[in-house]
Symmetry: C2
Subunit: 252 residues, 2 copies
DNA sequence: GAGTGGTCTAGACCACCGT
DNA sequence: CGGTGGTCTAGACCACTCC
């Protein structure tokens, strides 16, 4: 129940990560097929030359990721349906996502300005007087079809020198290079309708259903580093959430 | 502080759970306020009379739930925004959710039938020949306003004797009593528009934006136990997803 | 009853943060 | 530097499943 998010510069992978990678390899290579039973934890510990706790943590991560399921008293088994399409609960570069779905990604920058923040932006980004934000409006395409309109705002103070390096790379990459890699985010999902502007930009009829995603991105320290507004064409992606019953469930 | 209704056989909470509950109490009671620093792990271990690993697991759970944040080399701190509105990534009873938001929950059963499964249902629920499903259509209200229309299908074979006990309790509770508590789920989110039927049931205009949630619930063994189709009125809830960067992130 | 995962301990050393 | 969380070990006992 703890996925390692460590994403900073290269460092020697922990034993847990090494074991997890190794098992994941067996899973994706087909060496371990759905329904198969894993060796028991003591055997795995011996095989990898680590302690049982290490094995348990590695296997635990693969459970969280949905690859494995433990059955108390019985064994650990390979899940029948390893993965889902696009898990919303992890942040991904849309460019990578479109490419992964076998389509050709493209994007156009509608506007890019540096300006003073609006009141809401000041609050959400915890800005001080005089701080300004860079505001980027883009439309993303998949196979020449517009699928997402987005508006991202980042405090210029965070970017240091990199504020000029345009948008050759994703904003996530730029933030990471600036020492503020996005570690988590909170997104609110709102179904809405295409109005005049969005229908033009996304080339859909007015009144077409869109999914509006209103997101705040945080770095490892919990500092807000980016505000995103996105409007998704309904059928462009399979937006999926993997849900679990809350461990600390209240009594209702 | 231990009621034990008729749920699964009573068992003593693990030390981890006890520690977690205790810390959670401090958090919700305001004893620990946002930004506050927790005692270090060794101190906590001494105070609770458990090992440091136990403390770490308890704290880890509260991190996952968003209450605490660890900073390597610095300490463990109370999150500034304890919890967000309605985290989509955990499954909740809507009745409880509506009540938690300070509104009065109600529901009407539109229909409830036992029938043979459709092809898609047979596949998703992994049914065999002759298996049938119970199909429940409901509308949920918050303060007398309809907010969700749902259609849930459960294999009758799973319910045992409880198939008759109507819907006095939530379907989650019924499944739990039948030995198949929902442990995880996969939900697909699709923005859509209210058509004739939904506009009538949810008392909105045709063409009103709705969020369609198409969900499969699984028990601890990974066996699918319920299929849900839900249509949410856009502004009824704040649907929120807490996202994190994927551990194995691609370069984009 | 044999075998499996579930929980827990006590202690060690490492990596990072701050002063 | 001292204090903190991060990783890992070796071993113990418990709880569940299945034969």
């Amino acid at each position: 129940m703890k996925i390692d998010i460590g994403m900073s510069p290269r460092k020697r992978p922990s034993l847990v990560e090494q074991v997890r990678e190794s098992l994941l390899g067996d899973l994706t290579s087909g060496k371990l097929t759905p329904g198969a039973k894993l060796p028991n934890e003591n055997d795995l510990a011996d095989r990898f030359g680590v302690s049982r706790s290490t094995i348990r943590e590695a296997v635990g991560g693969l459970m969280d990721a949905g690859y494995l399921a433990r059955r108390h008293g019985s064994g650990t088994y390979v899940t029948s349906s390893p993965r889902t399409r696009h898990p919303l609960e992890t942040t991904v570069s849309y460019t990578a996502m479109i490419r992964a779905s076998g389509r050709k990604p493209a994007e156009t920058v509608v506007s890019k300005v540096v300006r003073a923040p609006a009141a809401e932006e000041r609050e959400l980004l915890r800005l001080s007087d005089g701080d300004s934000v860079i505001d980027v409006e883009r439309v993303r395409f998949a196979d020449r079809r517009p699928v997402i309109y987005s508006r991202d705002r980042i405090p210029v103070a965070l970017l240091g020198d990199s504020s000029d390096q345009a948008l050759d790379s994703s904003l996530y990459a730029i933030l990471a290079r600036s020492g503020h890699p996005v570690a988590s985010a909170t997104a609110q999902l709102i179904p809405t309708l295409a109005g005049a502007k969005l229908s033009r930009l996304l080339m859909v009829k007015r009144g077409t259903p869109l999914l509006h995603i209103d997101q705040v991105d945080y770095d490892e320290r919990g500092q807000p580093v980016m505000l995103s507004h996105e409007w998704h064409v309904a059928d462009a992606f399979d937006l999926v959430v993997n849900r679990r019953t809350s461990p600390a469930s209240e009594d209702a």
